[in-house]
């Protein structure tokens, strides 16, 4: 199993002179701790930038990132959406049938998952997830006094997805602790073969084997997303050989992403008291608040594409077979597109952000993510009057994700201590 990337054997053609070069390392610990200065430098250097350190092309402005994302014809995904070029290097695992596939192979798996994870299909989960969120919050706050200090990551951002999502997929209870480390490694593996990839390497075999074993029909409950994927293979909409790999997509892409999405929104709300006040006054904005956090922090920071032909973009040409790195996080803070982009602002309309990507591969789980976000924020807003950082957050470094290791929070509870009795779960639940 080869995990990663080595420089191409033949020296690449020199990039066109019109492309500015910037000697930055998007995957260094310094950048991962705070990518914003590098993102700004990339945006200001030009519409397309060459990164000599990895001999890569990069786009960081909104217009070019969006254009590259939607152009599956010229920027396909089947050569990998990480730094490694599958046309020349062996992937570390069998490629995803969604993320790392192009039409026509991408069509059937995508159609099946879109239906299973679409807003109308999720309606049956809405009430349960809102109740689960209230239950989780009650468990943390009931009888705890007027203020509660907790780690927003472990107590909320990890706890909630781990409580609802594996059940929704239909996983058995045992072994779920493998989900986060597997996802963490998978998202590291999109980057260069640095120490972060090395750190995960010893457990890759064990974790991959566990994940693969969870995708089998007989392991999954008969009422979850997993069973629905297998049912699609019974109908012939996908093949039985595809079904387990499509289940795997949910396990790889569906946990860490929402964990750090929830971390992002909790961090935003804790550091912006006016945003918390807005959410309290208008809890129906929870869904928009979550998307604003996905824009502002961009839990998935980057993805790559590979030029299929010489592709003109941003006044230059990305030569065929070369990798291009799309900075979703930088695009989501491009002042050419957003007013006051560094501000987490609940009065902003974050529509059109590229935090879930855009186009054919746009996150098929985005409605799941928003539902988790809306459920948890609604439950918190019901009981917490004020939210503030209890200490500085600690970042978790990952080659693809903008993540937190811990998020110490202090929650000031509503009114008197104890549970708030008689508060019906009325009102709209976000969609």
């Amino acid at each position: 199993m080869t995990a990663t990337t080595t420089p191409p054997a033949t020296p690449p053609a020199t990039p066109p002179a019109t492309v500015p070069a910037l000697d930055v390392d998007p995957f260094s610990h310094e950048t991962l701790e705070d990518p914003l200065p590098m993102q700004e430098a990339l945006r200001e250097a030009g519409p397309v930038v060459h990164l000599p350190r990895y001999d890569l092309f990069a786009v960081a402005r909104y217009a070019e990132v969006r254009a590259a994302l939607v152009d599956w014809q010229r920027f396909p995904s089947s050569a990998g959406v990480g730094m490694s070029n599958f046309r020349h290097e062996e992937p570390w695992r069998p490629p995803s049938l969604l993320l790392e596939a192009d039409p026509p192979h991408h069509d059937a798996p995508r159609a099946v998952l879109s239906a299973i994870l679409g807003p109308r299909a999720l309606r049956r989960l809405t009430d349960r997830w809102f109740a689960d969120a209230e239950d989780l919050v009650a468990g943390l706050l009931d009888g705890a006094g007027a203020t509660v200090e907790l780690d927003g990551m472990t107590a909320l951002a990890e706890a909630f997805p781990l409580r609802v999502f594996p059940d929704a997929v239909g996983l058995p209870p045992e072994g779920r602790e493998h989900l986060l480390p597997y996802g963490d490694h998978a998202f590291n593996a999109f980057g260069p073969s640095n120490d972060l990839v090395a750190k995960g390497a010893p457990r890759v075999g064990e974790l991959s084997a566990w994940v693969a074993s969870q995708c089998a029909r007989e392991v999954l409950t008969d009422d979850g997303f997993g069973a629905a994927i297998w049912a699609a293979s019974d109908r012939g909409d996908i093949t039985p050989a595809q079904a387990p790999l499509i289940v795997r997509s949910l396990l790889t892409a569906g946990v860490d992403t929402t964990v750090h999405g929830l971390g992002a929104v909790l961090h935003g709300l804790a550091t912006h008291p006016e945003a918390w006040a807005t959410l309290r006054a208008r809890p129906e904005r929870a869904r928009v608040a979550f998307d604003e956090a996905v824009r502002w922090q961009s839990p998935v920071q980057t993805f790559f594409r590979t030029a299929d032909v010489d592709v003109p973009i941003g006044g230059t040409v990305v030569p065929a077979d070369r990798k291009i790195l799309m900075f979703l996080g930088a695009a989501n803070r491009d002042p050419r597109h957003w007013a006051d982009p560094d501000r987490f602002d609940l009065d902003r309309d974050p529509s059109g952000h590229v935090g879930y990507g855009m186009g054919l591969h746009q996150c098929v789980g985005q409605h799941v993510a928003r539902l988790e976000g809306a459920a948890l924020l609604t439950a918190l807003a019901r009981r917490v009057e004020r939210l503030e950082p209890a200490a500085a957050p600690v970042r978790h470094h990952n080659n693809t994700m903008r993540a937190f290791a811990s998020l110490p929070l202090r929650l000031h509870l509503d009114g008197v201590t104890g549970p708030s009795p008689g508060r019906g779960r009325g009102g709209r639940r976000g969609r």
Binding site: D71, A108, S351
Partner: protein
Amino acid sequence: MESVDRLVVQEKTGAAEGVVALTLARPGGGRLPDWAPGAHVDLTLASGATRQYSLCGDRWDAHRYRVAVLRELDGRGGSAFVHDELAVGDTVGFGGPRNHFALVPSTRYLFVAGGIGITPLLPMVHQADLVGADWALLYGGRSRATMAFADELARHGDRVTVHPQDEGGLLPLASFLAGAGDDTVVYCCGPAPLLAAIEDATAHRPPHLLRTERFVAAELGAPVRDEPFVLELARTGATVTVGPELSVLEAARRAGATALSSCEQGTCGTCETPVLAGVPDHRDSILADHERAAGDCLFPCVSRSCTDRLVLDL
């Protein structure tokens, strides 16, 4: 912003006797929504009626759609309009694309087309060829001269059998399907009698191995309007007039609503909004027919109103 619900006719050419092919594009030349073989678009012609046409062009060309239109025998309605009046440079209303006839993965396919039913199958055979599947096409029509795209199919050699009725009689379905094993998916599009015949001929096989689409000549749904309508936002009571230049989403925002959106082309599902009163004019790629008919939600980034007043839960 470029109007998302109209396309301009870029080319109009004869594809066979009684069939014209239209090339359609965004008025400003932008990318069109992605599609896959089996998809159709809803086109609204000058009469205000909406007709469905299968896409039969090249999905690797993101800027153009191709559809083929048969002049129907009674010579009325939309098809006569397309043949006799619609000209290069004209625009038509547009919704979709939608796909109820997707090509499922398989190593073997048999395709059966009757007449204009070749249109959804044309991109399917190209795709089956591309992925290296084993496939064959049986293509029937009244006479050779009426059969569109036979020339484009010629390059596939003996995988394609063109079978005009005036030369060879009815389609030899039984012999064509004789070799179909459990690994073979049969696709058929054409008039109702052909579909009935193929259902009979494959009745002994698992039902999911037959996928059909009826070529519908009927005009569908409520007539679409070009006149402005009134949009009412139920949560605030605000009203706003929506003219053809404005999307419902944009109008709702101008009236003060918070409405999250993403793709703004009716594909991602982010902007789904409950409809409280009025009849939506659906233009999205998402809803199935029965969900459209229910009329209880719409995607305001592309969809509009058939009625004078549309009330949304915003």
